[in-house]
Symmetry: D2
């Protein structure tokens, strides 16, 4: 019990351990029922599709600040190889080495631990070098398709991009919900736009990373109250960094992933979506964002698409 | 002109070069219009979701037969690391090295060349070690969401799995279309089930790979006639291997990717989908299958989901 | 104390913990003094050099039996790139992904633990995903140059290659020493030839790997008695496999690396050296075999050269 | 013939094509004869060993300036895994992804081309994504052991470190040779110390990289006149950068590697060696610096050791 008392207080309020049984490995994704999906599908009006991933490339988001989270090294292992003799049909093949959290990604439920525990009270020691996450691996998130709601906090503030020190709180989510004209409900995937990714898009990776606006320590309860299935945003760190409570680093990660069992998405490019939603005057859509099924993965790149 | 004459005859009949302009880099994906997507969305009845990817793991599909196409090496670069001091919130991160075509994947349009050309007449030499595919990189396929149609050839034949030497021809596609009760139309993504992946699921990678049933040299014209947007199946090689015409290897790849500009999917697990479609008596659904946006990628892993 | 009693008996006899101080991280490599090196140098007669590494390539030694120990994936990241404009001087660069123990390699002292301990009584938990081996990393073996002695057990037996079930014991080492006409002494690096690598050189990786002849559980004491600095051989597993004592796997590894603090080399190609030594009638030479200094490495590829 | 005339003039003077036959793949390494090695061995007096490689780690030399030349990503694929049951002997294994030229390395003869040719007139197109360098692969440099001579240019100048814009010319090599009291001769491996690597050792990778002192365009002829086998130094770029002749980038690379067929070493840490040579008053020693035998490699990490 070495973290500040207010952390444990919040943890108690958002905790979902046991809610879907002791064997559960997908947490709040359980909230995406067939009914939720049918309702999500019914939001589609125009068929317009907006991709939300940043390109995977060596000049990617990572600056080396986070050890091991390497930008993609994309290499060709065959270039126009005529495997079957001269002047036959030729093949080009490629390979990649990358941090699974390097680009646009989902944090899986095994990504964070505290007090020796991961979500649902499983031991943190179940994550090993030899197989990765034995519990809550990213491959357990077999399909992530639901209603997406864009909470465009930057737009609600009337700015292009929130200030770097800005902690997005419940009141900001309320205001963005009001702008959206949508009530966030059970099973929704909420996309919170800060505009911070503009720094990366403009070529400044350092400025993008930190300091950064991000979600406040007070937001997990907001998400828990609405029974949101997952939350993603357009920052490197997801939560405000440096943190709001001195010395308490990554509390939102711990509350969302460990206590609530709710996947987090980072480095999502919400700029085009913000434009599209504003144009159409609609902020709810069908969102398809299934991670790659890395067995034992603590995270995964994802290529999310919003269908309006 | 060193390939058999019948190849060039077929090539002429399916060729789409210039159809969407000289600058086009996505070929038949152009056929997925907003209208197609709206219609695709309208196929959803129950909200049931079926994932189609095989797990990404070191005990994956590849046997070493295809040089450089390595199974995923998933490694942890941090395990419960308390980056901010003892008894703080801890992080687990991971990284991967893999062939982009190692698991369930899309072949991008730059994957195949013949006669020094890739799709739309671009030079094959535009694929380099330094940047990969300068034209038609997989990142150009920004969103792949459309109506999916399962053509369950194995089921239409009344077998669990087609014989290894079986070339799936237009007549098989017709029969499966009839079983499906659906007419394949412009913009559809067709999933052709042979049942071959059962070998892999049963643990026999060698038997899965080759010899294998697969699509016949005569099928590209069938897809071209219906203006299909993309085709995927449940084999390693997509097309029948060894090939139907002695010495003419990979003709279907060349017709689909180079001439038609139509992406191909391989190693898709269609077993659960086959069961679901049979249960529901419906073979059309919303399919979401966007590749990861590797800049210059000749291919990409994909985690497709069918929404019924 | 869960291993057989005879293991702990042997462990006690070969243990070197504390011998070079509590802070020691290189074990028996301490035995290679300047004097030993001068004597090693004095063995050189002809200047003939014999390399002992197998090529590093995707068609390498590993079969997939040992998870994560992947053969090298060598890729070009630039091929004749004219970085400074057309018709300028062009660059080709490459990259690799590989298991550090995949080819000809040294096992570092952190490679093996038992009872929660590594060499010198350090905690096994000092090896982490985040930094590798904090103690006894392979980079601590800053230079490995000493007298090498080939103990050509296969030749002493009058065979090309020992039988797969053959455990090389002290009596075999004695016989090979006699054949060599050399007395193994403090600081020597001993190369034990079984001939097993002929299977790999002939293209049969499966046969090479296991079952395999290898060093007996009784050999660590022989090496300890002579104060050998390191031992390498021409097998995948170093020691006889399956093991001599039912259920006691890798006892030689544990005795050599954990108890004695003596590095082990595996997959060394000793065929050309065997020929050279026989031709010259000399089995002692200068050996240069410094590992690549991977910070925190549990092992490293090495390109050893014998100088006769 | 698109490079400046003075380049072609110099090229003519240093060219070694055909000197060791049309089939030759190792260039000036042919100059290291058995006699040279014996003489090299005879330089050893004390047995003192000095390693010359920088650690291989993620916080390595590369800054991202050179695409694809990634610092080592070292990962554990097993940490104290008890493969044979609880409380048995446990294994830790590791893997790496890295640019082969990322740390202390040799440039192989296929690393550079101009006018479509590599050393010995072979076509540059012999370097492919599918196999790397078919000619002059780094694995052809089977053993690199010879006399090393430290030309300590910084010390000869009486400075810790040469100015960043300083081009080391023949006159500097002469002065350092004089300081060394050694005449460089056929088969020697020359190590040229600028002191530039101090920037990296002090933690400033940017300052280390460029601008940088380095070898002048006028030095290849000096090396050719003495029939040196190889040259290495303590800079990222080997040669002075930006270059001496406006617009003529990498001329020293092209003269050394393509024309002369002489391997180059970069990022060698010569600081400890400089100290040792000064202390002992001897600048010639036995040098062992065999690259890892990557099949088709354009370069390779190396862990060189000087034996004094």
């Amino acid at each position: 019990m070495s973290l500040p008392a207010e952390f444990y207080d919040a943890a108690k309020r958002v905790n979902n351990w046991g809610r879907w049984g002791e064997a559960d490995e997908i947490g709040t994704l359980n909230l995406i029922t067939d009914t939720v999906v049918r309702d999500a599908v019914s939001t589609v009006r125009t068929g317009r599709r907006v991709p939300l991933a940043v390109p995977l490339q060596q000049e990617g988001i990572q600056t080396g600040m986070i050890p091991g989270r390497v930008n993609p090294l994309h290499t060709m292992v065959a270039i126009n190889v005529e495997m079957f003799g001269p002047d036959t049909i030729a093949i080009s093949d490629d390979a990649v080495t990358m941090g699974l959290q390097a680009g646009t990604h989902w944090d899986g439920l095994a990504h964070i631990s505290h007090g020796g525990k991961i979500y649902n009270g499983r031991p943190a020691s179940s994550v090993t070098a030899h197989g990765g996450a034995a519990c809550h691996g990213i491959e357990k998130m077999r399909h992530v398709v639901s209603r997406g709601v864009l909470l465009d906090v930057a737009r609600a503030h009337g700015v292009e991009r929130l200030a770097t020190g800005y902690a997005v709180g419940p009141e900001d989510l309320d205001a963005a919900e009001e702008l959206a004209g949508v009530t966030v409900r059970s099973g929704d995937i909420v996309l919170v736009r800060t505009g911070q990714i503009q720094a990366y898009l403009a070529g400044d990776r350092q400025a993008y990373g930190h300091p950064s606006p991000g979600l406040s320590f007070r937001t997990p309860e907001w998400f828990r109250a609405r029974d949101v299935a997952a939350v993603a945003n357009d920052t490197l760190t997801f939560e405000i960094i440096p943190p709001e409570i001195d010395g308490l680093w990554l509390p939102v990660h711990a509350l969302d992933l460990v206590e609530m069992g709710m996947p987090q998405g980072q480095n999502w490019n919400l700029e085009e979506l913000s434009q599209a939603c504003a144009e159409e005057g609609r902020y709810a859509f069908l969102l398809s964002a299934t991670p790659e099924p890395f067995t034992g993965g603590a995270g995964s790149p994802v290529a999310p698409v919003a269908i309006l």
